[in-house]
Amino acid sequence: MLETDLSLNDMMFLARGAGVTLLITAISVAGGTLLGIIFGVARMNLGRVVSGLLAVILDVFRSVPLLIQLILANAFQAIAGLGLQPFTTACVVLALYTAALCSEIVRGAIGAVPTTTRRASRSLGMTWTQDMTYVVWPMALRVGLPSWIGLVLSVLKDSALVFWLGIIELLRSSQILITRLQEPMTILLIAGAIYFIISFPIARLGGHLERKWREND
């Protein structure tokens, strides 16, 4: 197992895969978080019917396997003749998936701000926007950030599924190498280690923030 035909070129190939994984994650998380905040705030401020409808739609993204969502989206864009690149399709699906999860975090975090606090700020003459910017946002951020970091990590891991659309990300590139070199254990361990090296420090940071903020409360 220690004797390997793995060349420097192959390692570069894996690194490029890791780059694709990171790029997809970054784009999806950025888009998904923005959408998630909009959906989350919307759900708390729109009427019961609209909010309920939005809730049901977002819930679908959390109740259907991501792989199926990717396959459906890809099939749909082909049918509709949108001519999207697989990379674009993958980012759109992952961003919507992220948004669905993120909207729940946003709702939970804003809900955790006590009504009494909000009433206090409004009775000081703050507008809704001021209340949101200066009072709710900083308090909700503390509650929501650890969960959001957890979300980033799960998007990072779930992004492995985009290989189904032919995108060569980290796990897919390791599989290509496996087929060529027939050294599954070595190559998979390297791929796993790369995931772990990216993911573990972020997870630790999340845990650290959660503990630190809980102590202060």
């Binding site: 109740s63 259907v64 396997p65 792989l67 199926i68 049918i79 492995a160 998979l188 791929a191 796993g192």
Partner: protein, 221 residues
């Protein structure tokens, strides 16, 4: 745009096949939760143990399960172990991978629940003459289950969704596998997978509803 005729009727013919697939999906999910839950309790206790020989492997398992993709874990079971000349069937690889993943996540759920139960509960049980294991089983575990119930239910839904990854190692009997199999013959990708999505959605909702009813029955206090 849309010069495509949806063939829903053709897709609906395959509902019985998808139904069979759904049963396999549920079976894998349930088994993976049972195996993962049992290991999860051991890992949760192990992570809080004094001895590093218990703590270290438990921590390693939990961190690996939580910091690598589920798909990677399934690949490890299928291709990785395969490299030692052991043949792992797609079914076993999927079940093993998801059980490994479940165990890691459930261990953290259980650990949190254990921490939430005051030490005085154990003391009270011990002072009534119960040996440690009995106090753990009769007093701590039932209370732990209540605290862990909702997150465990969510994990169950996750497990159901994760079973769809079996197709990537060649499983063709579960819901996604069956769908993909038919797709390869008929090329009605959108219709078939939309149908599969409905199946997954309904299963997830039924499981959530069932769990809520069960919680209402079980936890009267």
């Amino acid at each position: 745009m849309f010069d495509y005729t949806f063939q829903w009727r053709q897709a609906l013919r395959y509902v019985p096949d998808l139904m069979d697939g759904a049963l396999v999906t549920l079976q894998i999910a349930v088994l993976s939760m049972l195996i993962g839950g049992a290991i999860g309790i051991v890992l949760a206790v192990g992570r809080t143990a004094q001895s590093p020989w218990a703590r270290w492997p438990a921590t390693a398992w939990v961190e690996l399960a939580r910091n690598t993709p589920a798909l990677f874990q399934i690949y490890m079971a299928h291709f990785g172990l395969g490299s030692f000349g052991i043949y792992i069937s797609p079914y076993a690889a999927l079940l093993g991978g998801i059980a490994f993943n479940n165990a890691g996540y459930l261990a953290e759920t259980f650990r949190g629940a254990l921490r939430a139960i005051p030490e005085t509960q154990t003391r009270a049980a011990r002072s009534l003459g119960m040996p440690p294991i009995q106090a753990f089983r009769l007093i701590v575990v039932p209370q732990m289950f209540r605290i862990a119930f909702l997150p465990t239910t969510n994990q169950m839904v996750w497990a159901i969704l994760m079973t769809s990854l079996g197709v990537t190692v060649g499983l063709s009997t579960d819901l996604t596998g069956v769908t993909q199999d038919i797709n390869a013959r008929t090329f009605r990708t959108f219709e078939l997978f939309a149908l599969a999505a409905v199946f997954y959605y309904v299963i997830a909702k039924v499981v959530m509803l069932g769990a809520r009813l069960l919680a209402w029955r079980l936890f009267r206090y």
